[in-house]
């Protein structure tokens, strides 16, 4: 009896106590967002009523007239604005390992509409200025600034779209339906609809380009209570933040770096500015700060409301059948599309001879890369080294080694979620450079692709406009651009869980190899050797025991 009591006391009870502690003690604390300190967002309204100003009482005919009126009071702002990229469409930026360049929308290529040059009359629909129709635009004339596109408070201001009608003004003019005086008298600080009027419709339509910036973010209905984006959610219990709350602006310098047109790790708008580097109560989660960008876990999908374009195959545009007729329709598969050996499910496929084949997808899962905040750019003069591989137009730099041994300790590499835009676009087969075609135009014979449907002519026109050589021999090459995702942040309970990445079979980081991720990776040689070792030990003891049993039986 005493023995049993002793065994219970020495062995069983310690087991129970230790197991109870081990299974119940959570040294890591809860996973809640830090509830104690709320981040205050203040939207101040200036106490000025612009409708009372005399200078704004007249009947404005054109946009520049309004700008002149604005600048009569807000003098100095014009000079100020003309230093920024929203005006210039380029800035000086450094590419690591290559030097300093003048980079921007003005001279960089993408795989949407490829390039601005020779297409300015249409592209300047999203220029914060009036009249940027060609390369001779006067960037020094401050009356050409379009103040209203950003500062309109009436939600009635829009710029004219020359493609919508035969005689509509282009080059960023105000739309003829706009009551400029009304708009001028009701200006204010920019709200989401101001920024969104351009940034939600990049690439030629709602959510075409970025994937995480779409018109639905404005709507009270779809953005209600932050289901689509927790910051921009509209409604009573939502945060209802403006773009400028994160993209802090001072004297028209807006924070935030877009890597399709930038290359250095500067002027960033980051999550840590408000949320700090330790936003979780869980230490384990905060430990991930060094390795993973906040966006990775908290942007679980993008294009939540409207599909985004994920593939743009220009090679099917302006094609002719054997009889020489322009192919106007193309048989498209139901809802899957195969590109570069990868099958894309649940997609919408559009075709027209102007644009070629476009593939749209909703609720897209991001792809993941190592990124340290710097990028390279494939410039128009750069040579294509390998035409069998896709050309990445804006390679985002970073690697696992750069994570634990960063070249720049202030910006080590982290895992970021990106949208990868894929497509096929024209290139110069002989010169091995990319080419920039003239796409937009209304006049036949202008060699714009969208009226004349001739690739060779359009490319020639575009390259002549740039003053760059073209051999006359074009082909189509696969390209990619990378778009880091920052918007459509999910609610905290929708964030990625541990097993979404730390998973041997179906990790979100399946394709990001080259480093050891516990739970996903094993060294198969090590594992097999270990298993064989254990099997050998087991076999050894079984054989030994077998012989002991048989030899003792023999004795009897």
């Amino acid at each position: 009896m005493k023995k049993i009591f002793e065994i219970i006391f020495i062995i069983i009870i310690p087991w129970i106590i230790i197991l109870w502690i081990v299974f119940n003690y959570n040294g890591d604390k809860d996973r809640d967002y830090y509830p104690s300190s709320e981040i205050k967002i203040e939207h101040t309204k200036a106490p000025v009523d612009h409708s009372k100003f005399e200078v704004l009482q007249k009947e404005f005919q054109t946009g520049p007239e309004v700008t002149e009126a604005c600048l009569s009071c807000h003098n100095g702002r014009g000079e100020e604005f003309m230093k920024t990229e929203h005006w210039n469409w380029h800035k000086v930026d450094s590419i690591p390992g290559r030097g300093t360049f003048d980079l921007g929308k003005k001279n960089l290529l993408n795989n949407f509409c490829i390039g601005v040059n020779s297409n300015e009359k249409l592209c300047s629909m999203c220029h914060a200025g009036y009249g940027y129709g060609d390369k001779d635009f006067d960037f020094k004339n401050q009356n050409n600034i379009d103040c209203l596109i950003c500062h309109d408070g009436t939600k009635t201001y829009r710029k004219s779209n020359p493609c919508k009608g035969p005689n509509l003004p282009g080059s960023g003019a105000a739309d003829i339906s706009v009551d400029l005086a009304y708009v001028a008298q009701n200006v204010g600080l920019p709200k989401r609809n101001n920024c969104g009027s351009c940034h939600f419709t990049g690439g030629g339509g709602n959510n075409v380009k970025h994937g995480d910036l779409e018109m639905g973010l404005l709507s009270a209905h779809t953005g209600l209570n932050g289901e689509v984006d927790v910051h921009m959610g509209v409604g009573e219990h939502a945060n209802n933040m403006e773009c400028t709350d994160c993209h802090k602006t001072h004297n028209h310098q807006i924070s935030g770096q877009l890597y399709s047109v930038s290359s250095s790790n500067s002027n960033r708008a980051t999550c840590e500015e408000c949320h700090t580097g330790k936003p979780h109560q869980s230490e384990l989660l905060n430990d991930h700060f060094k390795t993973i960008a906040c966006q990775t876990c908290h942007i679980t999908e993008y294009a939540k409301l409207h599909p985004t374009k994920i593939i743009w195959d220009w090679s099917t545009a302006a094609r002719y059948d054997n009889d020489g007729n322009l192919i106007k329709k193309m048989e498209t598969a139901d809802s899957t599309y195969t590109f570069d050996g990868v099958v894309y499910d649940d997609v919408e496929i559009h075709f027209d001879p102007k644009h070629g084949t476009a593939v749209f997808k909703k609720d897209v899962c991001p792809e993941y890369i190592w990124f340290n905040g710097t990028a390279d750019h494939f410039l128009i003069e750069d040579k294509i080294k390998d035409t069998t591989k896709p050309v990445i137009l804006n390679p985002l730099l970073g690697s696992y080694e750069d994570h634990y041994q960063p070249a720049d300790p202030t910006s080590p590499s982290k895992i970021w979620p990106v949208k990868i835009m894929r497509g096929k676009q024209p290139y110069d087969v002989k010169n091995l450079t990319l080419v920039q075609p003239k796409l937009a135009g209304k006049i036949k014979g202008s060699n714009a692709l969208w009226v004349d449907f001739s690739w060779n002519n359009s490319i020639q026109a575009g390259m002549d406009y740039l003053g760059r050589p073209y051999s006359g021999d074009y082909g189509f090459i696969e390209t990619q651009t990378l778009w880091p995702l920052n918007h459509e942040v999910s609610q905290k309970n929708q964030a990625l869980q541990c097993a979404d990445c730390h998973n041997a079979d179906d990790s979100r980081l399946k394709n990001l190899t080259g480093f050891y991720l516990p739970g996903r990776d094993q060294n198969s040689l090590l594992d097999y050797t270990g298993l064989i070792f254990l099997i050998l030990v087991l076999a050894g003891v079984s054989i030994h025991g077998f012989f002991r049993i048989t030899s003792s039986k023999k004795k009897h």
Binding site: I11, P14, W15, Y25, Y400, H502, F515, G519, V541
Partner: protein, 509 residues
């Protein structure tokens, strides 16, 4: 089979807690590794961390315990008997060979175990624990540029884990190689290990030895002589206090393994224990038949009376020595033995029974009877003498009228431990006596020379090698031509009996 206390309480707690922690660490660890999915990655990580801390706390404290209790000595590796141990496991164990080493509480591990645990303590556990700690604090170590890629850390940790698992399998199997397959496991639970009587005896000896050495070490003082004086005194005190009579124990053991029959009877007059020799003398085959039966069972009617009287005498506190008793053997034959017995007392001094020794004297009695007959018949018979002379139990001697030995037989020589007759013939009978004994014997000698016979008596002899023996002696005159020319007689060895008497006397003191 005996049980010996090998494992202390803390050890057992430590062993089983560590085993449980290691198994759970393995389960959660391999889930983190991605091998299977039981409780989810997140839970597995949290629990693995908690278990890791519990494990580290346990082993750190246990090293402290090892140091302070001196248990660390158990782990010092030795190559002594290493080959023998390996050979045992590879071949010996299959042919039921004895273990080359024994387990005692001061030496739990055989050399192979010591080597294995050295590997575990120096190689495997540090690898697993240290790589685990680096794994746990990886982020802050990377911040301080103390570590690079995670891969090597993870690989070391995994290698250590596989090695540890291999150890567990081997270890669990090897625990079945004890005295019986479950002996070692039971021992680790209860603390007591089953082992053969011989192993247990050796374990006991080892324990006593180490305990004595340690307590001797625990007294300060220069030189061992000083300590020894103290030590011997302390030792004797303890032995006395514990009631251990070391000399009598050895004596008793010797007696029990000699040709002396041992018995113990309870207060109720029933046999409680007898030994092999007793059974043989009573010609019984089965101890179980005797134990519990009444002491009066195997006697003649007169014998019964005598026995009851004797038993009561002893129970009242007296010691009897050398009482001659008749017995009726199981097969009906009659035998004779002398019995010496003393009461058995418990710790408090109450008599619980009696115990004693019997020495068979049947051949001697028969010889005596024959001799008496002869004495009464006053008739010498050569055949008779020859018979007696050849007897193994009876020693024959003849001494001339001057006191010189004329003849002795083989048995006599054996008893006196002489090699041959030639050493003796012609020598004086005072040779093997003390002065006192000689005077006594001279008196008897002269009496016999005068024609008297003297009754049987016990006398002491000094053997050639200096040892002492006891025997009964008869002396009759040798008559030739109607003249007494010498003394002849028989001696019957009574050494064992005398020894038994002494032993019983001592117990009473």
């Amino acid at each position: 089979m005996k049980k010996v206390l090998i494992y202390k309480g803390y050890e057992r707690f430590w062993h089983w807690t560590q085993a449980m922690l290691i198994l759970l660490l393995a389960v959660t660890g391999f889930e983190v590794h991605g091998t299977f999915d039981l409780m989810g990655y997140e839970q597995a990580v949290l629990i693995h961390r908690n278990l890791a801390w519990a494990f580290i706390i346990l082993i750190v404290f246990t090293q402290f315990w090892n140091m302070t209790t001196g248990e660390w000595r158990q782990y010092v590796p030795s190559t002594n008997l290493l080959k023998a141990q390996i050979k045992y496991y590879i071949t010996g164990i299959f042919s039921n060979a004895p273990h080359p080493t024994r387990k005692t509480v001061y030496n739990k591990f055989n050399p192979l175990q010591r080597l294995t645990y050295l590997g575990l303590r120096v190689l495997i556990i540090p690898v697993v624990v240290l790589s685990g700690l680096v794994y746990m604090y990886y982020v802050s170590l990377v911040d301080q540029s103390a570590v690079g890629s995670l891969a090597p850390v993870a690989y070391f940790h995994t290698i250590g884990a596989f090695l540890l698992m291999g150890f567990v399998i081997g270890h669990v199997y090897l625990t079945t190689t004890g005295h019986k397959p479950l002996s070692a496991i039971k021992a680790m639970i209860t603390g007591w290990e089953e082992m053969s009587n011989e192993d247990a005896e050796i374990a006991l000896e080892e324990n006593l030895k180490v305990a004595l050495i340690e307590s001797r070490k625990g007294i300060s003082g220069h030189g061992s002589i000083e300590k020894e004086g103290m030590f011997e005194t302390a030792f004797e005190d303890v032995v006395e206090k514990l009631g251990i009579n070391t000399e009598s124990t050895r004596l008793r053991e010797k007696l029990l393994t000699s040709n002396v029959g041992y018995f113990r009877i309870g207060k109720d007059g029933k046999y409680q224990d007898v030994n092999e020799v007793w059974l043989n003398l009573y010609k019984c085959t089965d101890k179980k038949e005797v134990i519990g039966s009444d002491v009066t069972l195997d006697r003649t009617p007169e014998g019964k009376e005598q026995i009851i009287k004797l038993v009561n005498k002893i129970l009242s506190g007296e010691i009897i020595t050398g009482e001659r008793v008749e017995r009726v053997c199981k097969d009906g034959t009659i035998g004779y033995h002398t019995v010496s017995a003393a009461p058995v007392k418990d710790k408090d001094g109450n008599t619980t029974g009696l115990e004693g020794f019997i020495i068979d004297i049947t051949p001697q009695v028969e010889a005596e009877k024959a001799l008496e007959k002869k004495i009464n018949a006053e008739h010498k018979s050569n055949v008779f003498y020859e018979q007696i002379a050849k007897s193994k139990d009876v020693g024959y001697f003849r001494i001339g009228d001057q006191g010189f030995y004329q003849e002795v037989n083989e048995t006599w020589l054996k008893l006196y431990k002489y090699d041959s007759k030639d050493d003796l013939i012609g020598k004086h009978y005072s040779l093997s006596r003390t002065k006192d004994d000689f005077i006594k014997l001279k008196q008897s000698f002269e009496k016999v020379m005068n024609g008297e016979t003297i009754p049987l008596g016990i006398t002491r002899r000094y053997c050639k090698d200096g040892s002492i023996g006891y025997h009964t002696i008869t002396m009759t005159p040798v008559v030739e031509n109607d003249k007494i020319v010498g003394v002849e007689g028989f001696i019957v060895d009574k050494t064992d009996r005398k020894m038994a008497e002494e032993e019983l006397k001592k117990e009473q003191i």
